[in-house]
C-alpha cells in the first residue's frame, strides 16, 4: 500500500520509532527552532496521536506537518531505520484527504500566483521581468530580486526567466551520427523555464558521447511539489501525462538533471499509480531505466575522457538531499569533477546538509529557509573556492541566493555544466 493512499501504510514505520531522539542531531529545522515539533520524533508522535484519536486533523496539525524539508537526514541517522520520508508524505496526503487542499492553501495559493507570474513572464518577456523582478547585474548568472512580496519575502534572489524555454530551443529529437543509444531527457520545470544553461549542457554532453537525445514536447511538471504536499490527485494526473509523453517517443534510457525529477521517475510515479494496472506497468518500466545524469555518465555509458579540456576552477560540491540520500548518488558527481583537468575539488564541512530550499518549503517558511541556508553559505565561504557545483537546479537557486546575499564571489552551477565546459575547452586546443 502506498503512502499516498492511506495512513495505515505507515503503521510499521511508526512502531519502529523508539523515541530515542537521535534525529535531533541532524534535523536542519530542529537546529534552528529547537522545538520538538520540528524534529522527526515530534511529528511521528503527532501522527501517532492522530491515529489513536487523541488529536484531530486540524489546520494546525497540517501546519506542523509542513515543518519538514523532506531532506531525509533523519532517516540516515535513525538507529531503528525509520523511514520518516514515508511518514511525512502519508501525513500530508491524509491532511489533504481530510481537510481538502485548503489545509495547504498557503502553498497552493502562493505557488499558483507564482506560476501565473512566470507564465505571464514567458509571454511578455522582458516587460514582466522589469515589473516583478529587479535585475541584479552579475557576470555569470542572470539573477534578480522580487520587487514585491508574493508571500515569500523579497530577500530571495531569483534566476531571471529564460528568454526561451529549453524545450522550445531544441527539436524534439536531436540526432547525432552513428548514435550509440537513444536517451530521453526529462527537463523538469526549473531547467525548462530558468536554468536552460543546465539543459543545454546535458544535451551537449550526451551528444558529445554519441547519444541521440529526445526531449518529448508533451512532458510537464514532475508533480513532486504536489505529491510532497499531499495533493495526490494533481500529482497522479501529472505522472500519467509524463508517462504518456515519454512512451510516445520511446527511448533506451531516461535522464534527468534535477533531484525531484529523478525521485519522481524512479519511485514516486509507481507509488502514485499502484492501483492503476495500465499505468503502473509503464511507471515500473520507465523507473528501471531512469538515471540521474551523473549516474548515467558513470555507470550506464561511461563518459569520454579523451577530449576533456582544462577548466581552471576551485570547486566545492553540495549534495542535494534527494540525489544523495534519496537516490544514493554522491560519489558520481565527484568522480566527474575530479576527472576534469584543472578542476580542484575542495569539500565543504557538511556537503550533505540540506540547503533549506526544499521546493515549496521555502515558500511556506521563508524565514526558516533562509536561516538554514545561512549555515550552508558559511560552510561554502570557508572553502575559499570560486565555484559551487551541485546536482539540482532548486539547490542552485538557494545556494546562489545565499552567496549573493552574503556578498561572496562564487559561481553556482550544475556539475554537468563544468563537464560541458571541459569538452568545449578540449575543442579549442
Amino acid at each position: 500500500m502506498s503512502v499516498y493512499n492511506s495512513l495505515d501504510s505507515i503503521t510499521d514505520e511508526l512502531h519502529k520509532c523508539m523515541k530515542c531522539g537521535n534525529c535531533m542531531a541532524v534535523c536542519p529545522i530542529y537546529k534552528e527552532t529547537r522545538q520538538e515539533v520540528g524534529v522527526a520524533r515530534g511529528k511521528i508522535s503527532l501522527v501517532e496521536y492522530l491515529l489513536a484519536g487523541e488529536l484531530d486533523m486540524t489546520e494546525g496539525l497540517a501546519d506542523r506537518f509542513s515543518l519538514c524539508t523532506t531532506c531525509m537526514a533523519c532517516n540516515t541517522n535513525c538507529p531503528c531505520g525509520v523511514r520518516f520520508d514515508k511518514i511525512i508524505l502519508a501525513a500530508r496526503a491524509e491532511a489533504v484527504r481530510k481537510k481538502g487542499l485548503h489545509s495547504v492553501k498557503k502553498i497552493a495559493f502562493t505557488a499558483l500566483k507564482m506560476q501565473r507570474l512566470f507564465d505571464l513572464g514567458m509571454k511578455t518577456g522582458s516587460i514582466f521581468q522589469g515589473v516583478a523582478l529587479k535585475h541584479l547585474p552579475h557576470k555569470s548568472d542572470r539573477i534578480a530580486r522580487m520587487r514585491f512580496d508574493v508571500g515569500i519575502g523579497t530577500e530571495k534572489v531569483f534566476p531571471m526567466l529564460a528568454k526561451k524555454t529549453l524545450r522550445s530551443e531544441f527539436p524534439e529529437v536531436i540526432r547525432v551520427n552513428n548514435p550509440k543509444m537513444r536517451v530521453a531527457f526529462f527537463t523538469g520545470c526549473m531547467i525548462n523555464y530558468f536554468y536552460t544553461d543546465i539543459g543545454r549542457a546535458v544535451v551537449e554532453v550526451l551528444n558529445e558521447n554519441d547519444i541521440e537525445v529526445v526531449i518529448p514536447r508533451g512532458q510537464g511538471c514532475c508533480g513532486i511539489p504536489a505529491s510532497v504536499n499531499g495533493d495526490v490527485v494533481s500529482a497522479r494526473a501529472l505522472a500519467k501525462r509524463n508517462l504518456r509523453a515519454f512512451e510516445k517517443l520511446g527511448a533506451d534510457a531516461l535522464v534527468v538533471a534535477c533531484s525531484s525529477g529523478g525521485t519522481a521517475w524512479k519511485h514516486v510515479f509507481a507509488e502514485l499509480l499502484e492501483n492503476d494496472p495500465e499505468f503502473k506497468v509503464l511507471a515500473d518500466k520507465w523507473a528501471s531505466k531512469s538515471y540521474d545524469i551523473s549516474e548515467f555518465l558513470i555507470h550506464k555509458v561511461p563518459f569520454k575522457k579523451e577530449g576533456l579540456g582544462r577548466v581552471e576552477r576551485k570547486v566545492t560540491y553540495h549534495d542535494p538531499c534527494h540525489l544523495n540520500r534519496g537516490q544514493g548518488i554522491s560519489r558520481e558527481p565527484r568522480e566527474i569533477l575530479t576527472s576534469i583537468p584543472g578542476v580542484e575539488v575542495i569539500e565543504m564541512k557538511e556537503p550533505g546538509r540540506c540547503c533549506g530550499m526544499a521546493g515549496s518549503f521555502s515558500i511556506v517558511h521563508p524565514d526558516l529557509s533562509v536561516q538554514i541556508s545561512d549555515h550552508k553559505t558559511a560552510d561554502i565561504a570557508l572553502t575559499h573556492t570560486d565555484t559551487v557545483a551541485t546536482g539540482c537546479p532548486a539547490c542552485r537557486l538557494q545556494l546562489k541566493s545565499g552567496v549573493e546575499n552574503a556578498g561572496i564571489e562564487e559561481e553556482v552551477v550544475h556539475t554537468i555544466q563544468i563537464l560541458a565546459e571541459s569538452y568545449r575547452a578540449g575543442k579549442k586546443n
Binding site: 523515541k19 531522539g21 515530534g42 508522535s45 503527532l46 487523541e54 496539525l61 531503528c80
Partner: protein, 462 residues
Amino acid sequence: MLAREVLQELVQVLGAENVLTEQEDLMTYAYDATAAMKHHKPDVVVSPLSTEQVSEVVKIAGRYQIPIYPRGSGTNLSGGTIPTKGGIVLSMLNLNKIIEVDQDNLTATVQPGVIIQALNDQVTKLGLLYPPDPGTVTTATMGGSVSECSGGLRGLKYGVTKHYIMGIKVVLANGEVLRWGGKTVKNVTGYDLVALFTGAEGTLGIITEIIVKLIPAPETRKSILAVFDNLDKAGNAIASIIRNKIIPATLEIMDNATIQTVEHFVHAGLPMDAEAVLLVEVDGYREVVEREAVLVEQILQTEGSVEVKIAKNDQERDLLWLARRSALPALAQKRPTTVLEDATVPRSKIPDMLKAIRKIAEKHRLLIATFGHAGDGNLHPTILTDQRDEDEMKRVHLAVDEIFQAAISLGGTLSGEHGIGIAKMKYLDWEFGEAGVAALRQIKEALDPNYLLNPGKIVRRD
C-alpha cells in the same frame, strides 16, 4: 488548563514567541525517550533566554502553584521529563551558549542547553576533552546530563558526569538564584550542593549555568576484541585485567543474545555461538598504549579467550566497534518495544548478574539481551517486547522487578546512569529502606516545600 492571567504573565516575561500553548505543540512535550510510559500533555511550554527569565517563571509558578517540568533534549530513559501533572514544561534549549573555555584552569563554563558534543567540538580544538559520553552525546544537553549524572563508555577510567562538575548556578523553587562551587579544584565551603544537584533530575532546582572540568585529550588509543565460549571465563578476564593494574578507558561486554541479534544486523564477523564478547580500549600516551594493548592481549589469552583481535588502524577499530555501537539499534529493531534497564553491580559480580538475568528471562519467557559497561559493572539488560501485548507486558514488569532484586542482592544499585524518574521510584526503599526514602523526602521538602519542581519524580509526595 491554566488561568488566562498565568499565560499573560508568562508572555510578558518571555515574549509570545517563547510560549507555546497550542495543542499540536504541547502534545510533542508529553513524552521523552522512555519506553512504555504513559504520556501527559503540559499546559504550556516556555523557553527562557536567561537565568532571570527562569527565575521569573519559577516565581509565577510559585504564585499560582503550578508544577514546572525542566526539560533538555528529552532523551532520558526514566520518564524524567514527562509532565505528569500538566503545568509548565521549561525547555532549556535556548540557553545554549558556551560562555568560556579557560585553558589555564582547565574549565569550561556553559549554559544548560549546550549539547555535549558541541562542547567537545569546541575543546578538542585545544587538545582538551570533556570525558562523559552517554550514547546520546550528539543530542543530550549539559543540563540534562548533569541532572541525570550521565555515564557512558568511558566510566571505568574517567568516571561519570559528577566527577567533572565544579560549579553551578541554580534557580531555587522560591525563585532565588544562587551559585555554588567554582573554578577551584578544592572547595569545602559549606555542604557540597554541587554534588547534590548533580543527579537531582530537576527536582531540587533549575540549573542555568555549569562549570565543568576538562582534561588533556589522550594522545592515542587502541581497541582489542575478545571472544569467549564461557561467561565465567569472560568475568575472570575482566577481573584479571584490573588486577594487573590496567585501567582501560572502556571495557564492554555483550552476551549471546546480543551477539546473535547484532550479527544478523551488521555481519561484523562475531561467532554466533559465543557466550560473551569483550571489547577493550586503552588510551593515553603512545608508548603506554602500545604496552598496555599487548598486556591486555596476553591476559585475555591466558584467561581462555577463543579469539583475540587487536585493531591495527582506525578502520579496523571502527569495525570492532561496529558491533558494540549497533547493539541497541539492532535490538530495537527486533521487537516494537525496547525496555532498557541499567541495573549496576560491583565489577566482580558481572558473571553472576548475567546468569541471574538469563534465569529471569527463561522464567518469564522473555527475550532479554544484555550488553553494557562491564568495566564499571553497569549492565543494560534489554527486554525486547511489544507494548500492545498486555500479557507479555505483565511478565516484563515482573522481570524488571526481579532484575532489580538481583542487582541489589549482589551489592549493586537500581540505576547506574539512567536515573530514577517515574520509572524506578517505587523500588527506592528496596535499596535504602523506608528511612532512606524519608531522608530523600526531607531534602526535597527543605528545598521545594510545595513540590513545584518536577513533581512525581524520585520522591513521591505523601
